[in-house]
Amino acid sequence: MTYTSFLKSECLVLWRRKYDIFNALLFFIMVVVLFPLGVNASPEFLAPAAGGIIWCAAVLAILMSIESMFKEDYSDGSLEQLVVSGLSLPLLVLIKISLQWVAVIFPLLVMMPLLSEMLYLSSGIFWVLVVTLIIGTPSLFLIGAIGSALTVSIKQGGVLLMLLILPFYLPVIIFATSAIQTAQSGLPYSGLLALLLAISLLFLVVSPFMTAISIKASVN
């Protein structure tokens, strides 16, 4: 096994499993569409709330897609093969997380213009939203991968996973939505973006190693 052959096989598996990602995205769209219908569809309410709605829906969709990240690899023994491959496990993990991020976030961003139109988001704020998604969501995947690797050997690991990682998601959600709200009130918001970026960079360094340790504990 080499890093490139691993990358190729992961891309193929993602492509074959595209309906899983499609489901998560469909869920995302449904939350964003149903929310205004259920609460209040007036622009005065929706425009300020739009950032929060989109971010919460995105977090739920990401949780859905991340839960099963290592499930299949665990049950068919590929995870074991990664451990004994002699390659660096953190690097393999990082490749896998990055691919998963691209596969979920890219279609999400493509849908964003339409959704923000529905929520009456002005075009200036739209770009702030896109930036928070691009620099904020990597940390969600990186944190989620640790939890997913830790709970992969547990039958009903899904709920446990939520409990484990939601506390770590909160700061990201708070900083991202307050960056959008700050921008809406015309105040400088670059500090909040910097915080988001800092969280992502921190987990970019920490998460591959912690995920690798969790994987080793799980294949035990």
Partner: protein, 204 residues
């Protein structure tokens, strides 16, 4: 001075879930040997192979690879090792060819085809693993033994779900491997028919 053995296991203790499985296990493996690990169900055969492969850590003791201590960092041994455990390590979503190219990207198409025809898998080249039978999946996993050039084979019950013909093919390939200077460590509950092995008994 005698050159160091291929693999030396010295004073190895293995613990699984509060149970100690091996207490001070010692043995040497030299080049060209087939070693069969024996023991009852639950004696710790799979655990021993996993410790050597570096999947799980040992409680105590050392493993030497050509005299070099690799207990802490298995990567040097792992580069020369092919480990096939109870789980086959092939991905359900991929086809036979894609799986093998994942494990060994530098295999030539000729080599791939000749291997698969030895194992009777050639017609299944682009079939998805999830539509194969258990024995066929096992054959796909084992075909890495033909394609990847590794010195040490760690095989955990490789004969499970193989038919008589498959067992014969695998045994003769193991024989070729050790004649060429390779090493095989395997566990199996059935007797080897055509090859001679050294047995190591794990008493439970």
């Amino acid at each position: 001075m005698q050159s160091p053995a291929f693999l030396t296991i010295s004073d190895l203790w293995i613990e699984r879930g509060e149970r100690v499985l091996c207490k001070g296990l010692n043995f040497n493996v030299s080049v060209g040997e087939i070693v069969r690990v024996l023991g009852d169900n639950g004696a710790g055969k799979s655990s021993l192979l996993k410790v050597i492969a570096g999947v799980i850590p040992s409680l105590e003791g050392c493993i030497y690879y050509f005299g070099q201590d690799i207990t802490q960092d298995h990567s040097r041994l792992q580069q020369d090792t092919l480990y096939i455990g109870h789980l086959s390590g092939v991905k359900n979503m991929l086809t036979v060819e894609e799986n093998l190219r994942w494990h060994c990207p530098d295999v030539t198409t000729d080599k791939l085809h000749s291997t698969l025809s030895i194992l009777g898998l050639l017609p299944l080249l682009s079939t998805s693993i999830k539509s194969l039978s258990a024995g066929q999946v096992r054959r796909v996993a084992l075909s890495r033994l033909w394609i990847q050039r590794k010195k040490l084979w760690l095989l955990d019950e490789p004969f499970v779900s193989l038919d008589a013909e498959g067992v014969a093919i695998l045994e003769s390939h193991m024989k070729q491997h050790v004649v060429a200077g390779g090493v095989v460590i395997l566990t199996t509950h059935q007797a080897l028919t055509s090859i001679h092995s050294r047995d190591i008994d794990l008493l439970s």
